[in-house]
Amino acid sequence: MSDTATTTGRPPSVYVPSAEALATVLAPGERPPRPGALSASLTFGWRAMLKIKHVPEQLFDVTAFPIIMVLMFTYLFGGALADSPRDYLQFFLPGIMVTSVVMITMYTGVGLNNDIEKGVFDRIRTLPVWRPAALVGMIFGDVLRYVLAALVILGVGLALGFRPGGGPVGVLAGIGLLVVFSFAFSWVWTFFGLVLRSEKSVMGVSMMVLFPLTFLSNVFVDPATMPGWLQAFVKANPVTHLVAAVRAAMAGSTDATNTLWLLLWSAGFVVVFGTLTMYRYNRR
C-alpha cells in the first residue's frame, strides 16, 4: 500500500464493502436535537473559512483589487482635484474603501450561483435546519473578506500618507459601519444569485448596479460641482450616506444624520432583499 498510488488518483487498495463495518454506521442512533439558527449559520460560515483555506486564490479580489483601486485613483485624480495626491488621500481614502468593499459584495451572488450549479445546494436545501442559515453563513464568511479588504486598503492608505484624525477608534468605527452596510447589501446579491441563471449574468447585473451606485456619489469629488439632477441622485444614494458617515467617523466626529440614513438603508436591504431571497430559496 504505497503512497505513490494515490498521486495517480486511484485508491491504493480495492474497497470491499463489509457488512460488519457498514452495520456500525447504519445502526439508527439517537437523533440529536437540530441546531439553533445561530449555530447553523456559524457552521455554514465555517464552511466559507474552509473554502478560503483550500482555495486561497479567491482572496485575490479582496487584496490585489483594492490595492489597485487605491493607487490608481489616488494618483489619477490626486494632482487635479487637490493640491497633491497626499492631500487628496485624506478626503478620498474612506470613499475608495467603501467603493472597493461594496463592489466585492457581488461575489456573494456569484458564489451562491456557483454552489447551485454544483449540486451541493440540493443537499443543503434538504437539511432540516433554519432555512436562512446557509445564506447567512455564506455572508458571515464574506464579512470576513470585507474586513480583510478594508484593512488592506487602510494599510495602503497609511503607507501613502493617510492620517485619520479619529485615530484607531475612529477608523474601527468607520470600518464597522462599512461592514454593517455591506452585510445588508449582500442580500441584494443572494437574491440575484438565486434568480439569474449563470455566474456571468450575475456579474453583468452587478456591474450595472454597482458602477452608478459607487461612482455617482461623493466618493471621488464634492457633489456641489455636479448638475442639479445628478445632485438629487447622489443625495439619495445610500453609498453617499455611507461614505459621509465613514468619513466623519474616521475624522473623529460623528455624522448622526448620515449614520441614521445608512442604518435605515441597511435595515431596508435586509428586510426587502432578505425576504425576496428566502422566497426564491424556498420556491425553486
Partner: protein, 336 residues
C-alpha cells in the same frame, strides 16, 4: 426499527410539474412501501429526477400531492426533511473541501457536537473505505469514491428514506457492485431506498418493486418478475457468419419461434423476443428449437444467446416506442 417504518414511505397522487412548455411530471402516482428498495426505472427525461426532487422537498409540484411517512412534502416540508436524505446525480458535496470536512460539516448541521461529528465522520470514512482519502479534496476523488462519500453523507443521520438518483450511472463495474452492496446493507438496516435508474438489471438486482416511468407518469408497476413476464422472458440474439444469409435466417427464425424477428443495425445480427406469455423454460425450449432449425438449414451461426429483455425492449413492449434519450433532463437543468 420500532414504528419508524409503519405505513407507506411515499404516497404520491397525480403529481404534475412543468418547466415552461415541458411537462416533466404528468400525473405521477406512486406508492412506496417502507423498508424496501423501490426502483423508478425509465430513460433520461422520463421525469425520474423531477419526481425525486419533488419528494425530497426541492421542487414544488404544480399539481397533485405527495406525502413522505404521512407528511405533506409542501406544507410539512421540515418534517419530511428530518427523515430523508438525497444523493443526487451530481456530486452533492462541497468539492473544494476534504471528505472528512464535508462529513463533519454535515454532522454539525444535523446537530452533533464537534467531537461527536468528528467521530461519526471517522467511522463513516472507515466503513466506506475512505480513511486514506479523508484529508483529500473531494474534487480529487475517483468516480467510485465520490459516490461512496456521497452515500456516506446521506446516511450520516441514518435517514428513514434515502433517495438515490442514478447512483451507478457512469461507474465502472467494480464500483457499481460496491454501491449495490452498500445499498443492500442500508436497506437491511431498515432504511427505505427510492432508487432511480436507467438500467433494468440494476432495478432487478436491488428493487423489491419497480415503477416504469415514461413522459412523467408511471406506465407499469410491479415486482421485477411481474414486469419481465409482461414483456416476454427473453431475447434471442443471433450473429451470423455471412450477412448475405440474413434474409433466409430471418425466415427460418420466424417460422421456428412464431414471433416477429428484427434485423439489428449490425448486418449480421438478428434479434427476437421469446416467451411472451410463458415461462423461462419455454423461452429456452423455443431458443433451442430455433438454433436447431438454423443448423438444419445450413446457416452458419457465430454467436447465439438468450438474454433478459433490455430496458429498450421493456419500453418497446409497454409504450410501443423505444426508450429514446431526448435530453430532456438537460433542458430541465437549464430551466431550474
Amino acid at each position: 426499527m420500532g414504528n419508524r417504518n409503519t405505513g407507506p414511505a411515499v404516497e404520491a397522487d397525480g403529481l404534475v410539474r412543468s418547466f415552461g412548455s415541458t411537462r416533466a411530471l404528468d400525473g405521477l402516482d406512486l406508492q412506496v412501501p417502507a423498508g424496501t428498495v423501490y426502483g423508478l426505472l425509465g430513460p433520461n427525461g422520463a421525469g425520474k429526477t423531477t419526481a425525486v426532487r419533488v419528494l425530497a422537498t426541492l421542487l414544488r409540484p404544480d399539481g397533485g400531492r405527495a406525502r413522505v411517512f404521512g407528511h405533506d412534502v409542501v406544507t410539512e416540508a421540515d418534517a419530511v426533511r428530518a427523515r430523508v436524505s438525497l444523493t443526487g446525480q451530481y456530486a452533492s458535496l462541497d468539492e473544494d473541501l476534504t471528505g472528512a470536512e464535508n462529513l463533519v460539516l454535515l454532522g454539525r448541521l444535523l446537530g452533533l457536537g464537534r467531537p461527536a461529528a468528528r467521530q461519526r465522520a471517522d467511522r463513516l470514512l472507515a466503513a466506506f473505505g475512505l480513511t486514506e482519502a479523508a484529508g483529500r479534496q473531494v474534487k480529487k476523488y475517483s468516480g467510485g469514491m465520490r459516490r461512496r462519500i456521497d452515500i456516506a453523507a446521506s446516511i450520516l443521520n441514518t435517514p428513514d428514506l434515502l433517495f438515490l438518483d442514478e447512483p451507478t450511472t457512469g461507474l465502472d463495474p467494480r464500483s457499481r457492485n460496491q454501491v449495490w452492496e452498500i445499498i443492500r446493507a442500508v436497506v437491511a438496516h431498515g432504511t427505505t431506498v427510492l432508487l432511480t435508474t436507467q438500467y433494468l438489471d440494476e432495478a432487478d438486482q436491488l428493487a423489491g418493486r419497480i415503477a416504469v416511468v415514461d413522459h412523467g407518469r408511471v406506465i407499469a408497476e410491479g415486482t421485477p418478475g411481474e414486469l419481465k413476464s409482461s414483456v416476454g422472458s427473453g431475447t434471442v440474439h443471433v450473429r451470423l457468419r455471412d450477412a448475405g444469409e440474413r434474409p433466409r435466417a430471418e425466415q427460418v427464425l420466424r417460422a421456428a419461434l412464431g414471433v416477429p424477428v428484427q434485423p439489428a443495425a449490425d448486418p449480421v445480427v438478428l434479434t427476437a423476443r421469446v416467451g411472451e406469455d410463458g415461462t423461462d423454460l419455454e423461452a429456452g425450449e423455443q431458443a433451442a428449437r430455433a438454433l436447431g432449425e438454423l443448423a438444419r438449414a445450413g446457416i452458419v451461426v457465430d454467436d447465439f444467446s438468450l438474454g433478459q429483455p433490455s430496458l429498450d425492449e421493456v419500453f418497446l413492449a409497454l409504450t410501443d416506442h423505444p426508450a429514446v434519450t431526448d435530453e430532456r433532463d438537460d433542458e430541465l437543468e437549464a430551466a431550474r
